[in-house]
Amino acid sequence: MQDIEQMKWALLIGTLAMLMMAFFVISFVLFYQKRRFAEEKKLSEIEKNHSRLLLDTALNSEETERRRIAQDLHDDIGTMLSLTKLSLNQLGKSIGENGEKDEQIMKKTQSLVEETILHVRRITRELVPTTLERFGLTEAIDEFIHKLEEGNNLTITFQPGSEELPRQGQKIELTIYRIMQELVNNAIKHANCTKIDISLEMNEEFIGLRVSDNGIGFDVEAVKEGHLAGLGLLGIESRLAIVNGTVQYSKTGNGGSTALTLVPVRSEAQDSKPEPLHPFRRERVNL
């Protein structure tokens, strides 16, 4: 009888021990999973900041390189061409006294040099938007579209918004300007459009850039899936990632497309110091 009692207690204690183990396992799984997710989130934030930093560095290098090339073109080639033009002017005067045919060749050569000088100036301005740095986004976009209209059979309208756009940080202004350039170039190259509308909007939180065209429109996902065709769009997204901006593409009623870019007025990227480069490469978790 006593043995049976002891056996009952042994069974009860064993059962309770197993139950405690079961509850411990369930609690452990719950809390461990939660902790690992928190860690994973933190690591992914670090990775995101890290890649943003890398991207920022790459774009800064690109701008620096553009500036250097523009400087070289302006200072070296531009100067040399101006001197060549002066020399040709002097030579032209002396040839004019000798023969008509030589004078014609000289005038043709002079006009070619002048044209080359204009091309070099244009390339220099395109490489570094000096108007953007001096006068801001509105004037830079205005200048850009006027130059485009000169050479193309295209109508480009620009609405700079109801209020005067205050100057933003150099990075934000350059980002919006480069995105506008890319979107307009895309519309000209791929959309077969005759009209492009650009508008700038601003509220307390965002600067909005809207570029619409009356072209054939496009499927964003299809373009992104393509190899080289999506590079421009990826470039836009990369630039926006640095300033925490977003872009949305939609089709307009007349068959064209609209791109709305929103960039925060005070982006986190400007305020916070980016995370340092990570010394190790983390093993990716398979999801």
Partner: protein, 232 residues
């Protein structure tokens, strides 16, 4: 007849509540359309079969007939269907491949255990609960559950386990089989037509585990979303 059923129901309320409580997850599976998930479809089949077997056992018990043969049969059904749920949940193909042969082996083992524990097989009145099969079943199910938890933690696919239906199903299984693993060998000696010894409150604990597993199953089914399942 109804009086007899009611009399028996009142005679052992806790044991009979376990029969009724099966209806809760059963109705919830239908209501939440959880059967779209193959694992939950197996759970639905298990609950239906369990409810039928329980009703038959209730009927036999009411008329003072030995119903342990049905209990032994329910072990095979229970293991085959509940472990089958893991077949659809495991991501590792090795584990998936392991489940079917283990189930077949277990069924053969249980049949042998039934045969071994009941030498007079045709004498239903003297039937006894199997000696080892329930413990083996409990150990196997604990193994599958712990392996699934390990896979779940490793994959990091589920952001919140509180809202993950199969987590609660597994929790129910773990609690139920943890409780069952120790008590089940004693049932072979205790639960028989003429008991060798009374295990007293310990056989009540089993009924409590039965209710707990059904409540945890119900919780899991309640957080199931057919729309979420379709999206994933």
């Amino acid at each position: 007849m109804l009086d007899q059923y009611l009399f028996y129901f009142r005679h052992d309320i806790l044991a009979n509540i376990t029969v009724i409580v099966t209806l809760l997850p059963l109705i919830l599976i239908m209501y939440r359309k959880a059967y779209v998930d193959p694992s939950f479809r197996l759970l639905l089949i298990f609950l239906i079969l369990r409810f039928i077997i329980d009703l038959m056992m209730f009927h036999f018990a009411t008329y003072r007939m030995n119903n342990l043969m049905l209990y032994n049969l329910s072990i095979i059904v229970r293991y085959a269907l509940l472990s089958g749920m893991f077949y659809f949940k495991f991501e590792s193909s090795t584990l998936q491949k392991l489940i079917i042969p283990v189930t077949v082996t277990f069924i053969i083992f249980t049949l042998w255990d039934v045969w071994n524990c009941n030498p007079a097989f045709n004498n239903f009145n003297e039937h006894r609960i199997v000696k080892y099969a329930v413990t083996v079943e409990a150990l196997l199910m604990i193994f599958w559950t712990l392996t699934y938890f390990y896979e779940l933690i490793r994959s990091l696919k589920i952001p919140s386990l509180f809202t993950f239906p199969f987590f609660w199903i597994c929790s129910g299984l773990l609690v139920y089989y943890s409780g069952l693993s120790f008590v089940s060998p004693a049932l072979h000696y205790a639960v028989r037509w003429e008991s060798m010894f009374e295990i007293g409150f310990l056989d009540r604990i089993l009924y409590i585990f039965d209710i707990v597993i059904m409540l945890l199953f119900s919780l899991g089914i309640w957080v199931f979303s057919a729309r979420y399942y379709a999206r994933h």
